[in-house]
């Protein structure tokens, strides 16, 4: 277990952890891209252009860091609905995300069927997610079991909020993974609120302590410190591949936006509290670190913002113009074995 | 306090003024919302009641038919006083029964074996079978072996087997085989004198009479319902377009007049214009096979067999028996088959097989005297052709006026598959074929 204080003392934390300069720059770029996308999505919703958005602002650092500690193309990913930074880091594009927001036919996640944040992309090993929370935990456990049977060197990485960690599926999944020592990394993104219910009313004890109950280690990290998260996920991955079983990581962060575009968060928290946490936002801190390392400057920042802005603009335009799915496509893919995979006949009347 | 009481001598219950509130002793009828003869469900509003405290709507405490209104609008009635009479089905039936002999109408129906409460309850299968075979269930002497005397499907089948169905049919053949047209062309008799249409006046089945004297109801028989459904589907799904052409059939008329008697003597069936038309149509379809197709969304299925559906009117409905592989028959063969199908239709003996497999419909609308029709396509075919009345008309030939026998052919087409050009050509070919029939044509 890497000790937190050692890391903080070191000047070149990223190199010590095995991250190259390029890695750490890319990590930052992904965080910024996710942040800008997320901000734009909120604007689009308020402007009436998309029906709904669920934001992940404030959680980008932990997600990007975790992604860099995993192997896209090999590991199995079970993100939850705020994980824009994560999915962007493992290969999804802003265009893909915009297509999903606008519910267009070309949306790779679901062809315009699912809401924002409900990811699924087989080529990228992003397993299809749903709205009933925490169902993805047993799925991750099952996929890890399958990977073992298939003798693959992969781990299953699954995220969820602290509210979701109270569902039965979390406990059943952890226990199953613990009994069979499966290579599963469970990362709880503790953003302090489950819609309007604050942590102290949501979780008895601490999420991280539950791991011991299921026979495996739990580690709490600062979600706004990408290096802490990176180290924890990397170590968890090594454990998993070595057959030592699951790890629970509780990444502490803060949900800077309301639960969704339908939530009025001033009903349950103060503006001051939000601002207090905004001051702890990891993205400016990361920029500072990069600058101190001599890897970043104002020019590069401006260039990045410009290119991200362009990418988002183009993606938005593309998605706006893209066609919706045909109405009759509603009937497709209920089952897999008929030609156009219809369930029943042309009208399940 | 009950909301109803019975009055001697009047079947049903009297609905009384309810005790709407503590202190009230009476109410005024503001407005009646039902009339005698209306059927009300329990809790349907029957009238408006006005009291010192409140104006309220009064729900009926019972289900039944309103027979009498006892209190006029604007009149006050005491709590407990009868407002109106509502009679339930059972009570009305009693009353009805009691009345019958008085009206002196009831024909004494001899008890049929198995007579019981279910004797007159006809299941859908029984009704459908009866309609198909022209059986009047209320008249036919069918033994009901089912529960409480019910006539079962098997009973009807047995009845049909035993030949009961035939006996029921009235020999209602109007002058189908009629007058021989005189040799001379200026005959008074209309040129079209035969046809598949039977009686002069189609009889519409009247089964119920009710609803006052300004309207009456006709029951929808299963066959009518089927026709309605098919027409609906055709109109809803197929974009119809329509076109027409005139044909000079003077030579055909002459030919037919010349050979028809001999033909009848030899073959025993009439030689109708329809037979020639079918031959002409078949030839044209062979040249334009797309007329014989079905729209299947991502493909058009062109049928190789030419099975012609003929619209045949009977007393109460239209059937479309099919002449299978009509292209393999000569004119005489077609005439024979037309006659056979017509006979079968009249006798109600058409089978499912007789009516299925049609790929193109021909309709002899001229038999009704029509000169222009817009037929509805027989789903899922692509077109429907009518043969109108043959009418003598003055026409211009080589800049001179002559009197010719002219007939209109009207075509409804599925505009997804067919359009003006192909249909125009098709009709031209039919016209050519028809106009080519003359005294040298061989019927065999």
């Amino acid at each position: 277990m890497i000790h937190e204080h050692e890391l903080k003392k070191s000047q070149t934390r990223h190199l010590q952890l095995g991250l190259s300069n390029d890695d750490v720059i890319q990590m930052y770029e992904v965080m910024v891209k996710a942040r800008k996308f997320d901000e734009r999505a909120n604007v689009l919703q308020r402007a009436g252009k998309i029906p709904f958005h669920v934001s992940g602002i404030g959680q980008e650092c932990a997600q990007a860091a975790a992604a860099f500690a995993l192997r896209p193309g090999l590991d199995l990913f079970f993100p939850y609905y705020r994980d824009y930074a994560f999915v962007l880091a493992v290969g999804m594009t802003v265009k893909d995300l915009m297509l999903q927001l606008f519910a267009k036919a070309e949306d790779p996640n679901s062809g315009g069927r699912q809401m924002a944040g409900h990811f699924g992309y087989k080529k990228l090993n992003i397993f299809s997610g749903s709205s009933p929370v925490t169902t993805q935990v047993p799925h991750a456990v099952g996929a890890a079991y399958a990977a073992r049977l298939r003798k693959e060197e992969s781990v299953a990485f699954v995220t969820f909020g602290e509210g979701s960690s109270n569902q039965g599926d979390f406990h059943e999944g952890c226990n199953f993974a613990g009994v069979h020592k499966l290579p599963v990394i469970l990362m709880c993104e503790n953003n302090r609120y489950a819609i309007s219910v604050p942590e102290h009313q949501q979780v008895a004890g601490r999420v991280v302590d539950r791991a011991i109950g299921y026979g495996f280690p739990g580690v709490r990290v600062d979600g706004n410190d990408p290096f802490e998260v990176y180290a924890a996920v990397k170590q968890a991955r090594e454990r998993g591949l070595a057959g030592e079983g699951p790890t629970l990581i509780e990444a502490m962060m803060y949900r800077l936006m309301p639960h969704s575009t339908s939530d009025n968060d001033l009903l349950y928290r103060t503006k001051e509290e939000v601002e207090e946490h905004r001051a702890k936002d990891g993205i400016p801190k990361m920029r500072q670190y990069l600058t101190e390392q001599g890897l970043w400057n104002d020019e590069r920042e401006a260039a990045l913002l410009e290119s991200v802005d362009r990418e988002i603009r183009e993606a938005t335009e593309y998605a706006e113009k893209a066609p919706y799915p045909a109405p009759e496509d509603t009937l497709l893919y209920v089952y897999g074995d008929s030609e156009d995979a219809q369930g029943g006949e042309s009208a399940w009347r | 306090m009950s909301e109803t009481k019975t009055i001697d001598g009047i079947p049903g219950v009297a609905v009384t003024v309810p005790h709407l509130a503590e202190s009230l002793v009476s109410a005024t009828v503001g407005k009646w919302l039902v009339s005698p003869g209306d059927y009300v469900k329990q809790y349907d509003v029957i009238c408006e009641l006005i009291t010192e405290k409140v104006t309220t709507e009064m729900p009926s405490p019972v289900e039944g038919v309103v027979t009498h209104l006892l209190v006029k609008e604007g009149t006050e009635a005491a709590v407990g006083e009868p407002l109106c009479i509502i009679a339930g089905q059972a009570e009305l039936a009693e009353a009805g029964k009691a009345k019958a002999p008085a009206d002196g109408q009831a024909a004494e129906v001899p008890a049929i074996k198995g007579g019981g409460a279910m004797r007159n309850r006809y299941s859908p299968a029984v009704q459908a079978l009866a309609a198909e075979h022209g059986i009047r269930l209320d008249e036919a002497r069918i033994e009901g072996t089912g529960f409480e005397g019910r006539i079962t499907r098997k009973d009807v089948l047995a009845y049909i087997e035993s030949g009961g169905a035939k006996a029921n049919l009235e020999p209602k053949r109007a002058a189908a085989e009629t007058v021989t047209a005189p040799e001379t062309q200026e005959a008074e008799v209309p040129v079209r004198s035969t046809g598949l249409h039977l009686s002069d006046e189609p009889r519409i089945p009247k089964i119920e009479v009710e609803g006052g004297d300004r309207e009456y109801f006709i029951d929808v028989t299963p066959i009518r319902s089927t026709i309605a459904r098919n027409m609906r589907q055709s109109v809803a799904e197929i974009p119809h377009a329509w076109t027409m052409i005139e044909v000079d059939v003077t030579n055909l008329v002459n030919l037919r007049n010349k050979v028809k008697n001999e033909f009848y003597q030899r073959e025993g069936v009439n030689l109708t214009y329809l037979a020639f038309l079918l031959k002409a149509v078949v030839g044209a379809i062979k040249d334009y096979p797309i007329m014989n197709s079905v729209w299947a969304v991502d493909k058009i299925i062109v049928k190789r067999d030419i099975n012609l559906s003929l619209a045949v009117g009977t007393e109460d409905s239209v059937f479309t028996p099919v002449i299978k592989q009509a292209d393999r028959k000569n004119i005489a063969g077609l005439a024979r088959e037309i006659d056979e199908l017509a006979k079968k239709t009249r006798a109600g003996k058409l089978t499912m097989s007789d009516m299925s497999g049609g790929t193109f419909t021909v309709n002899n609308t001229g038999a009704f005297g029509s000169i222009l029709s817009q037929p509805i396509i027989n789903y899922p075919q692509a077109a429907n052709l009518t043969f109108e009345s043959i009418v003598k008309r003055p026409v211009v030939i080589k800049d001179m006026i002559g009197v010719r026998s002219m007939v209109n052919l009207c075509l409804s087409l599925d505009h997804r598959i067919l359009d003006g050009v192909i249909c125009g050509r098709f009709l031209q070919r039919v016209k050519e074929n028809l106009e080519s029939f003359d005294e040298s044509t061989n019927l065999y």
């Binding site: 315009g112 299809s128 749903s130 169902t135 298939r150 059943e172 199953f176 | 459908a128 098997k154």
Partner: protein
């Protein structure tokens, strides 16, 4: 051909398919030792504990883990010990398994089989006798089968394992040891979605599934011999998707339909079958559609008198068939 019990037929299907296809594995409570009803007896000895996996006591996890494994290329057969205990897994079955293909626009799929022993054997009481098929019925995306014979049991199990979609496989506990039949030696399947006429007849049509198929057949035999009543018996075999064509053909044959199931009447499969018949062939009906089903009470009690009242039997079925024939 070999004569085997219904239970053996199911086991042999799993056993054989595991031998043919490495992706197939079984998971559930106590499956290692053979299962509490012996459905997986002897399989761990051949395939090892990783492919005949004992799970912790957690139905949602059993289903969820199976789903995750299926999404990552395996063909799991999850066993729920008694169908009465399937309900903790309902969220995983209905919200997840049924919708994975549809919600991902055909990118992901979920080829799992969930086996659940259902139906009363006698003495099982409220929580070892239920018929929960109607809870999942009508959820698009799921396939549901309920064989009645050894032949159908094996054929449907092989078909279910090979099916690209989630299949709920309901096995009637009373059929396990009470029903035997000839089963072919080689590979074969019974296609999902096809009903089977188990007896041809002319007077009435009986549509049913599971153990009541056998009551209907016994009653039909007696009615024919004793009273000359000829019954046409259709075994649904697949509950979802229902074989509409077969249902309508069987109903049309006689115009008189009796639907039987052990599951309670209201909202049961019989209601849908009845609606289909009324919707599509009203004019061929010679009698109102009848249903003979379990009463609308939560489940069957343990004492013999109430059990007898609740459960179907050859006699009850025979009575209903006779009244329909005489209608």
């Amino acid at each position: 051909m070999a004569l085997m019990k219904y239970l053996e037929a199911i086991r042999s299907a799993m056993h054989e398919e595991m031998g043919r296809d490495d992706r197939v594995f079984v998971l559930g409570e106590d499956v290692g030792k053979g299962g509490v009803l012996n459905a997986t007896k002897g399989m761990r000895d051949v395939y090892g504990p990783e492919r005949v996996l004992d799970t912790p006591l957690a139905e949602s996890a059993i289903a969820g883990v199976a789903i995750g494994a299926a999404m990552h290329g395996m063909r799991p057969i999850a066993e729920i010990q008694f169908a009465d205990f399937i309900f903790p897994a309902t969220n995983q079955i209905i919200s997840e398994a049924a919708k994975i293909r549809y919600r991902s626009n055909n990118d992901w799929s979920c080829p799992i089989v969930i086996r659940a022993p259902y139906g009363a054997t006698g003495g099982g009481a409220l929580y070892h006798s239920q018929c929960p098929e109607s809870v999942f019925f009508g959820t698009p995306g799921l396939k549901i089968v309920a064989p009645s014979t050894a032949y159908d049991a094996k054929g449907l199990m092989l078909a279910a394992i090979r099916d690209p979609d989630p299949v709920l496989y309901f096995e009637h506990k009373k059929c396990y040891l009470g029903v035997s039949g000839e089963v072919p030696d080689g590979d074969y399947i019974v296609p999902i979605g096809k009903a089977d006429v188990k007896r041809e007849g002319k007077d009435i049509t009986v549509i049913t599934y599971g153990m009541t198929v056998h009551y209907a057949l016994a009653a039909a035999e007696q009615l024919e011999e004793e009273e000359g009543i000829s019954s046409h018996v259709l075994d649904l075999r697949t509950l979802q998707p229902l074989d509409k064509e077969a249902i309508l053909a069987a109903a049309k044959k006689t115009g008189k339909v009796l639907i039987i199931h052990e599951d309670n009447k209201t909202g049961g499969i019989g209601a849908e079958v009845s609606a289909i018949i009324a919707e599509e062939m009203l004019y061929d009906l010679d009698a109102p559609i009848m249903r003979l089903c379990g009463p609308d009470v939560p489940a069957v009690g343990t004492s013999p008198t109430t059990e007898k009242f609740f459960l179907p039997s050859t006699d009850k079925v025979k009575q209903a068939m006779r009244s329909l024939a005489l209608y």
